[in-house]
Symmetry: C2
């Protein structure tokens, strides 16, 4: 494996992905924990190749780090304060994982990588919306595991990754109806109650059931399918599906 500095990336530019999913009335973010000692959580991140656009880079990083592809993915924020670097994180990582830096032939990080990696970085934030029941996130070989965390109960993440998630959530809230984002977080078919619970989760407030139905249907984005019989002793709700 070549050192990072020779892999044809744009210097000091990174892409961070906030991947939203929804399950059990919880809005979740997919965050891997790095497989090194110390318990470091970091958003799926990567760099931009010279030959690719930033949007393509975000897609590729999402794919490489989580196995997820073909989902809604959009840029929402750039963070690039002076001195923004992963030096603090990497120094701690090395302190807890000294073997990583021995000059073995099989060493994983090289001196040159350290210089490259700890420089000041400007990062473009992307957020993705996925059907959590459909995707099977796969950890990359950098990760110990990858897990969905309630956005209200995130692990401590490195650098300013928490701040990035906060901005992503704000963007999600503001553009939810406009971009029909909610339906990208749900399975292909769903009941109106599912939609309502999702909205209530995202905005953290209740909606009136009858009016909510009218509002969502007035988006003219759904088609009504057959009823869903659950065996419960009550009227069966209709299933809906996003048009097209």
């Amino acid at each position: 494996m070549h050192p990072l500095s020779e892999q044809g990336y744009i210097d000091q530019l990174s892409v961070d992905c906030v991947i939203f999913g929804y399950q059990d009335r919880k809005l979740k973010v997919l965050v891997p924990q790095l497989r090194f000692k110390g318990g470091f959580w970091a958003l799926p991140s990567g760099f931009v190749y010279q030959h690719e656009g930033v949007d393509e880079a975000a897609q590729r990083i999402l794919q490489e780090r989580t196995g997820i592809s073909d989902v809604f993915l959009e840029q929402f924020w750039v963070t690039g304060k002076a001195g923004r670097s992963s030096k603090e994180f990497l120094d701690r990582l090395i302190e807890l994982n000294p073997s990583l830096f021995t000059p073995d032939p099989g060493e994983e990080f090289r001196r040159g990588d350290y210089e490259w990696f700890t420089r000041r970085f400007v990062s473009i934030g992307y957020y993705a919306l996925v059907d959590i029941s459909h995707v099977v996130p796969q950890k990359s070989d950098l990760d110990a595991f990858i897990e969905w965390y309630d956005v209200k109960d995130l692990p401590e993440m490195i650098m300013d990754h928490r701040e990035i998630v906060v901005h992503a959530l704000e963007t999600l809230r503001i553009t939810l109806d406009q971009k029909l984002s909610a339906f990208k977080l749900l399975p292909e078919t769903f009941t109106m109650k599912d939609v309502q619970e999702l909205y209530e989760t995202i905005y953290d407030r209740p909606f009136a059931r009858n009016n909510f139905q009218k509002k969502i249907l007035s988006l003219n984005a759904l088609e009504r399918l057959e009823k869903k019989y659950t065996g419960a002793a009550n009227k069966a709700p209709y299933l809906y599906r996003l048009l097209q």
Copy 2:
């Protein structure tokens, strides 16, 4: 002057500024023409120093290229398609200005600069809102002149700068009320008619006078001052000022 590559900039990252002003019922953008042969217009752009944040860089670039400071300035878009570079522009520039590239001691561009400058760039777009009557734009030593252009009648600009302006305008329209942007384009005091004409310009459609007044006042952002006697044979309008 040191070559660009030694000036401590982040590589392949630029900042482009779209500066909006308003005058005579026209929304204008401040665009300098470069002082080289060929008639090249380019948004005020620059690079980010290692030691500064991207927001600070945008502020500095605005100041250096136009003399404008202390104004609303906010990031709105990143453009970074594969192969986005100013090579085409620079080659044409050199073709029309061959003396720029002679190896004189006083040469302005160096070979190293050419390499640096024509690499693929990712650019962060910022838009600024200024009181056109208050600022006195100053061209930098790169510019032949700097001028306000009607956003509906922009000169042909290099690279994707027109596309950047289009995105800036979209952002302005979407966030106008929320960010009280309009009042940042007006003088300190103004009449309701001034506001209405500005809105009609930005959205390119008429608003009903009486209802517009109610809508603007309902923002609770203005205080009413004395009347403005113009000498016209009609009722004198009130002046308003942005609160705080």
